[in-house]
């Protein structure tokens, strides 16, 4: 997996699935429409989808993605072009949903304190190494496990299963 580079958008603790993607948008299926509502319920971030650039990272504190099992909360960020989420901890279902949709998630202690919005990050998904190019600091995220990386490389669980069945 290649090195990724992008700007950080820093969020707080307990960014739940309603903040990331509100329940009222669950019937939407058009990726562009879904992307528009990413992070809409986070106070001050109503227009996140307009401000973020493809390749940027969402950085957060503890318990990112807590709540619902809705995969929209992963897909809206993916469709928006966000490169991945790096948080101090990620709720169990969100973590699985991300891997299963080929969307990068890394857990990294203290990341929300060591990175400011606008900082330029370089991330190695393979080793979990995160370089804050703006501050020069290096941080170590938990690298993905073998199976997780395998699923990610295929682009998600559905593609992974399809390839196993063909193989």
């Amino acid at each position: 997996m290649a090195l990724l580079r992008g700007k950080a958008w820093v969020f707080g603790d307990n960014i739940d699935t309603d903040l990331i993607y509100h329940g009222k948008y669950l019937p939407l299926t058009d990726p562009r429409e879904m992307a528009k509502h990413a992070m809409e319920y986070v106070p001050g971030m109503e227009d996140f989808s307009k401000r973020v650039s493809p390749g940027d990272f969402v950085v957060a504190g503890r318990n990112f993605g807590s709540g619902s099992s809705r995969e929209h909360a992963v897909l809206c960020l993916k469709y928006l072009g966000v490169a991945g989420v790096i948080a101090e901890s990620i709720s169990r279902i969100y973590y699985r949903n991300a891997i299963n949709n080929g969307f990068l998630v890394l857990e990294c202690p203290n990341i929300s304190k060591k990175v400011k919005t606008g900082d330029e990050l370089e991330v190695d998904p393979e080793s979990g190494l995160i370089r804050n190019l703006s501050s020069g600091e290096e941080l170590f995220g938990h690298p993905l496990s073998g199976l997780e990386r395998e699923i990610m490389e295929k682009g998600g669980l559905i593609e992974h299963i399809r390839s196993l069945m063909e193989g």
Binding site: N14, L19, G23, P43, S69
Partner: protein, 420 residues
């Protein structure tokens, strides 16, 4: 070294003699459950390129998130699900009719939630079935599509926390207050990835409804599952309704727990979770007087007959405060009919409440009671995330059915012990 419940059941289901936390195992679930999101699972399933589901009898689909359909988009989803279950021969389908209701309630009433079963659902509150001694947890829709196709999934063996419950609830205090206390103490991520086992003498005294309330909310502290060892109460409930055979799985007495917590029920008081976090827990007395616009009794957490009876007892012969809307949604049509027979619905209606058809209703902001900006709702649901009930400028307090009923009576948040 003995094994915890989670270790033991995951070892058994993966054909291993021993597993430890952190191990990744591949398992075939005994049963899987989906609701309205079956519509998007169907699309993912079809994209895999498999013709038939792995086992039509193991798939349960219960429509509840938006029933009857409030928009054409929801209606189309439901239509696609109906066509799919017919085509695939999925018999365990609960549509918009009087066999239905909130998926977790119907799943348990119908005898699908069984001891020693491994159950996965494409809904985060699938953890509810731990009340029957099942290992049950929520998964995403891609994972569900994959299971429909190949009948297998990987699960990480979780660390376990044991919570021992002793003593008796004081008057006006219920299982909802207890689980709010625990979530408040542990925090919204305090049990992240963990398996939570409830044990102790107080659990034995609890009704099945109370046990479901406890297990339902473990996800609000991040847990993978919650579980209570089945006893005679569970076995006699399942007698005659169990949908298949089962074998009880119990934790070993010498199992290792990451943490052991103890709660004395007699020390718990009526509590609320304040906006906008479930772990934002305070005694009712500290928020007494907060004006409310709406009160909501229902959901997979607290919409059972026991909950409606509590509300009816408090509201009998009384009228709710002017300007307050009390919305009651029985968790299933079975609960609805029972409440009808007992006169519970009439008491609630006479008090000023309106009764809506069983389903999730306004819990996640779909329909039947969306809040306006600036409005405050006190609810028996399990989540009070910002905007959860439809508007980001509204506020949700979570509480027991008793606290919600008494608050509706007063027009502001109040302690049920004031009326009892």
């Amino acid at each position: 070294m003995g094994m915890t419940f989670a270790e033991k059941i995951l070892a058994k289901k993966s054909g291993l003699s021993q597993v430890k936390p952190g191990d990744v195992v591949t398992v075939e679930p005994d049963r899987v459950m989906s609701h309205d999101n079956a519509a998007s699972i169907i699309k993912l399933f079809k994209s895999i390129g498999v013709e038939r589901v792995w086992n039509a009898d193991k798939i349960v689909i219960i429509l509840d998130h938006a029933v009857p359909a409030p928009t054409d988009k929801h209606a189309l989803n439901h239509k696609e699900i109906r066509e799919f279950v017919k085509e695939q021969g999925i018999k365990n389908f609960y549509d918009t009719d009087s066999d239905g209701g909130v998926c977790h309630q119907v799943f348990c009433e119908e005898g699908f939630a069984l001891p020693g079963h491994l159950i996965l659902g494409s809904d985060s509150h699938t953890c509810t079935y731990g009340a029957f001694g099942a290992f049950s947890t929520g998964i995403g829709r891609s994972e569900m599509a994959a299971i429909w196709a190949v009948g297998r999934i990987w699960l990480r063996v979780p660390e376990s926390i044991r919570i021992e419950l002793e003593g008796e609830f004081p008057q006006g205090v219920y299982a909802k207050d207890l689980i709010l206390r625990i979530i408040g103490d542990l925090g919204a991520d305090g049990a992240d990835y963990r398996s939570v086992e409830f044990s102790g003498s107080a659990v034995k005294d609890m009704s099945i409804s109370d046990r479901m309330t406890l297990c339902n909310m473990v996800i609000e502290m991040g847990a993978k599952n919650g579980v209570i060892e089945p006893d005679d109460k569970i076995l006699s409930y399942l007698d005659g309704i169990a949908k298949s055979e089962f074998e009880i799985v119990k934790a070993d007495p010498d199992a290792f727990y990451e943490r052991v917590l103890r709660y004395d029920l007699s020390k718990i008081e009526p509590l609320v979770a304040k906006p906008h976090g479930v772990d934002n827990v305070l005694p009712v007395r500290e928020v007494r007087g907060v004006r409310i616009n709406q009160a909501f009794i229902g959901t997979c957490t607290n919409g059972r007959i026991e909950d409606l009876r509590i509300a009816a007892r408090l509201l009998k012969g009384r009228r709710i405060a002017k300007g307050v809307r009390l919305i009651v949604i029985p968790a299933s049509w079975r609960v609805y009919k029972q409440a009808l027979r007992e006169g519970v619905l009439e008491i609630l209606i006479d008090s000023g409440a309106i009764i809506a058809p069983p389903g999730c209703g306004p819990c996640m902001g779909n329909h039947l009671g969306i809040l306006a900006p600036g409005e405050v709702c006190i609810s028996t649901a399990n989540r009070n995330f910002k905007g959860r009930m439809g508007n980001p400028e509204s506020e949700i307090y979570l509480a027991s059915p008793a606290t919600v009923a008494v608050s509706a009576l007063m027009g502001f948040i109040a302690d049920p012990r004031e009326v009892l």
